[in-house]
Symmetry: C2
Subunit: 137 residues, 2 copies
Amino acid sequence: MTRTSTTDHRQPASTGLVGEWRELLDRHAAVSCALEKALQDEHGIGLSEFETLDRLVDANCGKYRMADLAQDIYLSQSALSRAVARLEKDGLVDRSVCDTDRRGVFVRLTDAGRKLYDAALPTHREVLHATWGGGGC
Amino acid sequence: MTRTSTTDHRQPASTGLVGEWRELLDRHAAVSCALEKALQDEHGIGLSEFETLDRLVDANCGKYRMADLAQDIYLSQSALSRAVARLEKDGLVDRSVCDTDRRGVFVRLTDAGRKLYDAALPTHREVLHATWGGGGC
DNA sequence: AACCATTCCATGCACGTGCATTCAATGCAA
DNA sequence: TTGCATTGAATGCACGTGCATGGAATGGTT
């Protein structure tokens, strides 16, 4: 069954781990790009900011340590620091120094932050459903 | 079965499409970051450059139009243009104007380009296998 | 031929990210 | 207490990316 056609290139790489990785790469580009645009246009925040808000929403006591937050999100420490800075600038989040360890910083959702998150959630879900299969950006 | 525990947050989002998306986001960050580092350290190219070389390797006649290349890769037109520019600067690729349509640009792998690709391929595969399950960056 | 819409690629600009560094606060040992 | 390694977070810098634009080449219309 070893077809000697000249048009069957890219077949071997399309199966197995490499193929899965390539699919992931394509899907990531399509979905994240579409999400980025929709969230930016309709709510004025980027994907990183949305994901950050999303983690804060189901925080146990409302607060979240930067260090812990960094563990639960795909962002690096510096990227998270800046994302939170942008959110704070927009009044969606506030930072407070930890009492017992004044190196630590607590991040907490403000009322405006929760309001915007609730508004952005439907957008996020819609775009996700719309672009998951393909198309998108 | 509606458990009223106070510790089962993040469950609803972990299943279904949103959960899959979040997994993809995490895996993308881990794998692409690890690949980026390994390729950069061991071969002096980034992930975008490697993926570009990869497309060029199984080009039919060795040449590849920029416009076609842009369709077959997750990069935007401008990102691709710059990736090719970097590859050309390193002598891994050369650009030539199409004779019949002088707007079009053909990209072609040089000998050095193929050589470096052959060397980088094992690295790519190793890192991919090592980071796909988790860990990584 | 003259004109215009379209296509292809490159590029200026703004922006988010990673890396490495910096600074402050903490814990520990002498 | 003093000294030092460690940790948490912010930031300067370089770099890759997307968006919008620009310029060149093409095709079609008059």
